[in-house]
């Protein structure tokens, strides 16, 4: 561990804003990359389910 | 084979001279864009001279880009492209002739006009040969790479803006080298090495791009 206290860890020697913001933005983008295909999949399955129901009714 | 090449050049020449407006439009555009800059940044001659290599190159690049949207469009719409694809002659040869014609009537014309505009921007007379050489080596690359984009977007309804999006990033090396050479010349640095680099870039594009253009046209026709 390179830091003596948690507050020092957060401060990052006055560069905390830069380090934490870039990590936050990057992880947000990574999560977005996971979420988008998952949502697209859900949407596709929902559409297919609706289509199958419609065809079953006919 | 070479026969078809010259016939294609002849056909393009005929078409070009029967619509002289299309021949003149890129040139007028080039001149207007160059005239806009002194109006925008002020007429200070030192500033204009420093900016002149970049201005001339960006304006030439945009003028070529503007003319490219129509490169294959009318041939696509009237069925000429289909005829080229079903011809026993290699599409690459036909395409090379077509792009050569485009360069002759657009790129080369811009090169000829550029000294006049360069002098208006205050470029010293003894740097004009470098300018001419850099544009002469660079504009074929603009035509060839642009034709790749034009071939890929010819079947699309609003291909114009997309074409710019595809092609402009690919133009960056030519732009950097082309304007950099003139800047180096303005600063009195040697330019031969970079001109040779540009020449090899041009050769590389001339050998590879026609295949990409032909493949792009086949896709657009087959859609």
């Amino acid at each position: 561990m390179n830091f003596n206290s948690f507050s020092e860890f957060l401060a990052m020697g006055n560069h905390g804003v830069y380090v934490w913001s870039s990590y936050a933005i990057s992880f947000a983008i990574l999560l977005l990359n996971v979420a988008l295909p998952l949502m697209a999949r859900q949407r596709y399955l929902k559409n297919e389910a609706r289509r199958l129901r419609r065809e079953a009714q006919q | 084979m070479s026969n078809v090449f010259t016939l294609m050049l002849l056909r393009e020449t005929r078409l070009m001279f029967r619509r002289p407006a299309e021949l003149v439009n890129p040139l007028v555009f080039f001149a207007i864009v160059i005239a806009l800059f002194p109006l925008a940044v002020g007429p200070e001659s030192q500033l204009l001279q420093t900016l002149s290599p970049g201005l001339l190159w960006v304006a030439a690049l945009l003028a070529v880009l503007l003319s490219l949207d129509g490169l294959f469009r009318s041939d696509f719409e009237d069925g000429s492209l289909e005829q080229w694809v079903v011809s026993p002659h290699p599409l690459v040869v036909l395409v090379l002739a077509k792009v050569l014609a485009h360069w002759l009537y657009c790129g080369l014309a811009l090169v000829m006009l550029s000294p006049l505009l360069a002098l208006m921007l205050g470029m010293p007379l003894d740097r004009i040969p470098t300018l001419l050489l850099s544009l002469l080596l660079g504009t074929p690359v603009l035509s060839l790479l642009g034709a790749v984009g034009a071939a890929l977007t010819v079947g699309l309804k609003r291909g114009g803006i997309l074409l710019a999006l595809l092609i402009l990033p690919l133009y960056i090396p030519v732009l950097i080298l082309g304007s950099g050479v003139i800047q180096a010349a303005l600063q009195g640095l040697p330019t031969t090495g970079y001109l040779l680099w540009m020449a090899s870039l041009t050769m590389l594009t001339v050998t590879l791009a026609p295949f990409a253009i032909a493949a792009g046209l086949r896709i657009s026709v087959g859609e």
Partner: protein, 211 residues
């Protein structure tokens, strides 16, 4: 089956998520005339474009003498005359210039042959008129004049009869039949029932083939 020059094997075509046709087996041998018919959007033009090698099939293949056309493009292109919806006629060029160029793309033709062909489609005297000043029917004839040049064996024609007057239609029908009788092959789409078809005439209804 074995004497077929051009044939399709289990051909399927899909456009914009819609299946136009599948499991299509068509064969054309010398002297054959094949009319592809069907309602709008049934894939007539697509089938013709597949046969001409302009499009790639979704599945299946198109063969010439048993070998895929995509492996022997030259065999296809040097024996093919393709006339699409648009025939590749430039409005700014004259009829003669257009024909000279289009024939140069294939085997080439002399000026006399081009003049003869233009006369054959009733355009004598219009040789050096820019095509955009001609009427739609006359422009169509400039494209069709290629059929009177020293033409390849396989003709694939998409709607060749559009914009033609009655007399020109009859003339073209007779010319197509003559080409077949001399051992040529014609594949065409048209909505109009042919009056002068050769004995080898067949019709392929895509509307029924898919149902």
């Amino acid at each position: 089956m074995t004497d077929a020059y051009l044939e399709t094997v289990d051909l399927a075509c899909e456009r914009d998520w819609r299946l136009l046709f599948e499991h299509l087996h068509v064969s054309v041998k010398p002297k054959d005339m094949l009319q592809v018919s069907g309602p709008n959007g049934s894939g007539k033009t697509s089938l013709l474009r597949l046969l001409a090698g302009l499009m790639r099939p979704t599945t299946g293949d198109v063969l010439i003498n048993g070998v895929s056309i995509h492996q022997q493009r030259n065999e296809l292109t040097s024996n093919l005359l393709w006339l699409g919806h648009a025939a590749g006629i430039k409005g700014l060029l004259t009829a003669e210039e257009n024909l000279m160029w289009l024939s140069a793309l294939h085997h080439g033709a002399s000026r006399e042959q081009v003049w003869y062909a233009l006369a054959a489609v009733g355009l004598a005297g219009f040789e050096d008129v820019p095509c955009h000043t001609l009427s739609a029917g006359q422009q169509r004839r400039v494209g069709l004049a290629r059929l009177y040049l020293d033409a390849p064996a396989l003709w694939i024609l998409d709607e060749p009869f559009t914009a033609l007057d009655k007399q020109a239609v009859t003339q073209l029908e007779l010319h197509l039949a003559a080409h077949c009788n001399q051992g040529g092959m014609v594949v065409l789409t048209t909505h109009h029932p042919l009056q002068n078809a050769p004995s080898t005439f067949r019709e392929l209804d895509l509307g029924q083939a898919t149902l």
